[in-house]
Every structure is written in C-alpha cells, then in structure tokens.
Symmetry: D2
Subunit: 200 residues, 4 copies
C-alpha cells in the first residue's frame, strides 16, 4: 500500500508525508531513565513497550511523530480539530476557491451538493468575497490540511475515533491513520491493541 490511502471515495485521502517514528525510539526514550540505549529491538524491549502502555507511562511515545496530509469533509474536520495536541495547517476558504468536491453518501446528497456549489459559484460571479460565499456550502465539502501529531496523541485519536460511537466517516479516517501507525510502529501498535486500545 502506498503512502496515500483513499478513504471515503476516490477524492478524499490520508497521505503519510513524513515520519520520525519507530518502536526503537520509544524504547530508547524510556531507557534514558536508566541511562541505557538499545541498538535493535529485543524481546525485553517488546515487554518494556507493553509495560509502558499498560501502566500509562505515555511520555516515551511522544518522541515519535507522524505527518499527514488529509482531504476530508468539513464536518469530519470539525471533529478532528478538537484534538488539541497536534499541529494543523488547512486550506483557506477565505483565500482559495473550493473545488466541486464533496462527500456524497448517496444520489440525493450529490444533487444537493451540486446545487449548493452552483449557488456558491453564482455568488462569486456576483462579486461576493469567497469568505462569505462559502457560507452556502454544506459541511460535506472537502478541505485539505496538514496534521502533525506525536504517537501518544495519535493513539488517543484512534482510541476515540475508531470506536463505534464515533461517526462512520471519521472512523474511516482513523483506520487509515492506524494503518500507517501500525506499519511504522508494529510493536507499539500491538501493545496498544492488547491494552483495549486505550492510549497511555
């Protein structure tokens, strides 16, 4: 699987842009406490990660960082950006024109989205500023943003947003993030999963 994973349709996506993350980094951050360093993962290191997760020692996981570009509907982004321990930069609806790209779960939504997009274009054509005209667009419209987040905060995100009480759209995004997390940090991911998917 490439670094770009489509999520709700062929337009929306999660793309891993960069990362500074590995299980070994967690181990070495934790072993600073003991003035020790590992050069590669050993069975003892696997146990250490399990212990940190179970006992809620979250700080060693913060030294691993993921950087994503995301395209998602506004209503999902609203839920997303309530996560405060992360860095965001987002496409501006004040300075750029929205593309006619929407999350449309069925034909009726597609019709409404197209209608509202036409209304948006009409207002732009009439000279309305973008920042005002966008008010007519529903929250299914797609926007893009960068999301830089450490592994501790990412686990918190996944814990809350992949659960069944989360709305289905953000669950899909959470799974896409989790895919990258699992590939980069397989031992940490397994410990997280065993710990009832609770972030430390």
């Amino acid at each position: 699987m490439s670094n770009l994973v489509h999520v709700l349709d062929d337009t929306s996506y999660v793309e891993l842009l960069d990362a500074m993350a590995s299980d070994l980094k967690v181990v070495n951050a934790a072993r600073v406490s003991y003035k020790k360093k590992s050069l590669e993962m050993t069975p003892r290191d696997v146990k250490l990660i399990d212990f940190l997760m179970r006992e809620g020692h979250g700080s060693p996981f913060e030294h691993c960082v993921f950087q994503f570009e995301v395209k998602a509907p506004l209503f999902t982004v609203r839920q997303w950006q309530r996560h405060r321990i992360a860095s965001y930069n987002e496409q501006s609806g004040r300075w750029t024109e929205f593309e006619p790209e929407f999350y449309s779960p069925d034909e009726k939504y597609r019709q409404w989205n197209e209608k509202s997009y036409q209304e948006y274009l009409d207002r732009l054509a009439a000279g309305e500023p973008k920042e005002r005209a966008r008010m007519v667009l529903g929250t299914g419209i797609y926007t893009s943003f960068w999301f830089t987040v450490n592994a501790r905060s990412l686990m918190n995100f996944i814990s809350l947003r992949s659960g069944e009480t989360a709305q289905s759209a953000i669950q899909e995004y959470s799974k896409a993030l989790e895919h990258h997390f699992r590939v980069m940090m397989p031992v940490t991911w397994a410990a997280f999963d065993r710990n009832n998917r609770k972030a430390p």
Copy 2:
C-alpha cells in the same frame, strides 16, 4: 452592560458565565518570584503589569480564567477552535436537532439558509440520522459552546482575531470577549493595548 452581549444579531451572543480574574491576581502570581503579596493594586503594581506585558513574561496572566458561553455560526467556530490553549464543549449536531437560527448578512443568504433548513427537516422526516442530515446545512448555521480560557491565551485570541485581517464576524466576537476582559482586568487590558495589542 449585562453579562450577555449580542454580537452579529439578536440570536448570536457571548455570555460571561464565570471568571476567576483580576489585575491583582496577575500581580500576586508574578510576585511569588519575590515572595511578596499585594492586597490592593498600587502604582508599582500597574508598572509591574506593564513590564510583564512588554517583556513577554506571560505566565502570570495564565492564572486568570474566563468562562464564556458563545452562540456563533459554524464558519466562525471553525476559526475559533483552532485556538488550542482553551477548553471547549459544544452543542452536538449528532445528538440534537439544529434550530432554524442562522447568520444571514442579507436577504439572499436568509433565503438560501431557509431553503437548506427545509432540506434538513425533510431528511430528518425521511428518517435520516441527524449526524448525516446536517451535511446540507451551510456554515452560517448557529451552534453554541462553552469556552474556558486563561487571560494569556485570551489576549492571543484578541490579538489575532480583532485585527483587520480577521474575518469581520470573528472580529465582532473578539470585541465582545475583549469587553469582558477589559471590565474584569482594566490595568492588564490597558497594558495590552499600549503593547500594540500583542499578547505576552
């Protein structure tokens, strides 16, 4: 002026719910460094606040906390909640039905808002879940939230959001917040204003 200030129209508002904030608190937080305490503001204390502001010693201002309830359009709330050093709880569009309350700068927006609200009602009537039906609503729809914020982060908000590069709607909210800030912490407000409205 009462604790509730209307902002964009007779529906939207900023209401000061509670506060733990005074100029004297800033002074006493700062004077912990010197093991001293003031019982009331003196001319020296006024100078101290000026000094803290000018030199960027922001931590003493963090001990003052404001608590607001806000009703604002979604597009404004999106800008608002990018401020991460604050606490938020917001009305849920997943579990409650939106009221037909919108920010409508002119008659054309009012017509579109009413049309989209009718679309929303139709979908609810057809059995669509609220979390999905809301996608048809434009971002002029009003939502309510609690906003608890310390004086340092509040000054940062006011600094960025009352300036002329901010969108006009959030400028109005920023002024309403600033009104409460100025009433509760007049000396701090004056120092902030003299410091080119830069947060320390």
Copy 3:
C-alpha cells in the same frame, strides 16, 4: 480544615487560593451538547458524571479550575512541573535568597541541610550571585509556587502521584490536593474513585 494544609512538616503546605469549580459546572458543560442546563444536581446528573468518567469524556471537567499556592522541596517540584497542562509561577532562586527551610526526614539530613545552607550564606557573603551560590543547596530546600490547574489535569496528577509507585513526598502533596478537590467536587471525586482513580 482551613484552606491551608500542612504537608510534610509545619513549613511545607498546599493552600487553596481560589477555585471556579463545582459538580454542577461539569454537568452544565456536558449538557451544552444537548442544549440543556441544570440549576442543581439531580440523581440524573450524578449518573451523567459517572458516565463521563467511565467513558473517558474528559472535556467537561476542564471547565473547573483550582488555584493553589504550594511550598515543597525542589525534588518534589521537579516531578510536579513535568505536568504540562497547568500554569506555574515560582519563587526565583536567582532574585531572592532562599530561607533556611528544608525537608529533613531525619537528624542526619537536617545536619547536612544546615551545613549546605551555611555554605550558601558564605558564598553570598563573599559576593557570589544568588543564582550561582544556590548550586550548593541540596534538593530538599523549600521553594514556593502557584499552581493553577483544571479538574481534568488535576485528576491526572492525583492518579499518577498518589499511587504507591510515586515517591512518598509527592504522594503527601497529592493527598492534600485531593482533599480540596473532594470538598469542592464531591460527586466528581466519588466517580473518579469508583473509576479506579483513572482520569478521564
């Protein structure tokens, strides 16, 4: 019990300076989601707090804020200030002279503390700057600071610092903080205690 609680001896203390905290505030912050408000705590509200705690919905607890003045030994303050979601202002060892006040668990520590304090005074007398002379003082020396913290972060502190793996001194401070938390927010405290003292 007054607002000031002595902790390790007759010198060290935790003092509640101010608070903006109640169980009802948690309930009303949470009910913003449902556009409802309680005027006093009902049995349903008690259940709501239990639910929030158990399900890890931590944000409503953030709207309650406690403000403490603390006098504690340096080695404890070092552990304390690793808690980043809080505001601190501390007595400066660069600008003020330390008092001969130490945590001395037994007579041998007292002797050493007095010896090192004499060394400190000698260096000050010889014209050494305070910021440098203080290096000879052991980490049992007392310092004072302001600590402003919301109830969510406070529960995290208590969860980690009152447990038996924490050092005994900070356990005592944690108990003193918990006393104030319990008095101000009895329903929240009981839910926290039932939830295995895990912060939401």
Copy 4:
C-alpha cells in the same frame, strides 16, 4: 561540527538525535492554505517565511520537529522544563545512581560538589534509597534527558533563553540548540534573527 556539541565543559552536551525539519516543509505547510506545493526553495518562498515570521503566523513552523539528547545541571533543567510545548524523558534519580559529574564553575564548587557526592555515596552505602539520598546533592549535578520540540516552540525557547537576562548556563545550551536549528533551517533562522529574535 558533529551532532554532539559540548556546552559547559567536556561532560555536558547537546546532541541532535533526529530531526524532521527544513525550510521547505514550513513553506509547504503554509501553502496548504493556497493548495500549492514547492519542490525546492525559491526567492518567493524566502519572502513567505519572512512574512510568516513578521506577521506572527506560527503554525507552519510547528510541522518541523527536532529531537535532542541533553546533559545539563539540575538548575538548568529546572528552567528548561518550564517550557511545556515539548516532550521530555529524563534519567531517573530514583532508579539510577548519579555519576560524579557536576558543573563546577571554579575550584570551590568542585570541592563542594565532591564533598556532597561523597555524602551521597555514604548514604547509599548505609542502605538509604537512591530517591532519598540524592537530596544531599546540589543542583550542579548533571542529568540527561531527551527533548523533542517543534521549531515554533524551539524559537520561543531560544528567544527567551539566549537573551542576556537568562542565566549564563542556559544561554550556552540555547546557543547549542540554535546551532542545530540554524544548520537545518537556515532561511527560517535568518528570518527569526531579522525579526529581533522573536518567535512567531
């Protein structure tokens, strides 16, 4: 210059362990707003970084992250860890024995440090737990920690800690951090320097 820079003497150091940082990353994070991407730095990108710095648009700088290992005296670490927007893991004086490594600005400090270290060893020999025996050590004793920090928070650190009102020891560390920052992000560093070394 290698990744490890000695600071106060041949024992203390700042070592760059890892980084995910470049000027181009800042530019591309900022250009998300405009749905654009640069492949290499152009003169226009240099101007953009200058603009972001001057206007206080700090978020694009947060997507660059530095990871350091630091060995520093306790009194410096106390100042350091007041910076809350960063991740830390530190050698534990509860679980490991301190080495006889101190910051000793002159012969008199060296003598006292050695004396206090002998006292520490005597107490360990007498069966005192490490967490208690360490109380006799002065705050010139060296400790090691990991410090992971984004470029925005790092600039804030440098701004406050390399200034002449900071204590001389932390000024030296700040310069060592700045060296790495300047090498990795030369355009950002130059803009920071031109902006009176104020963090955005």
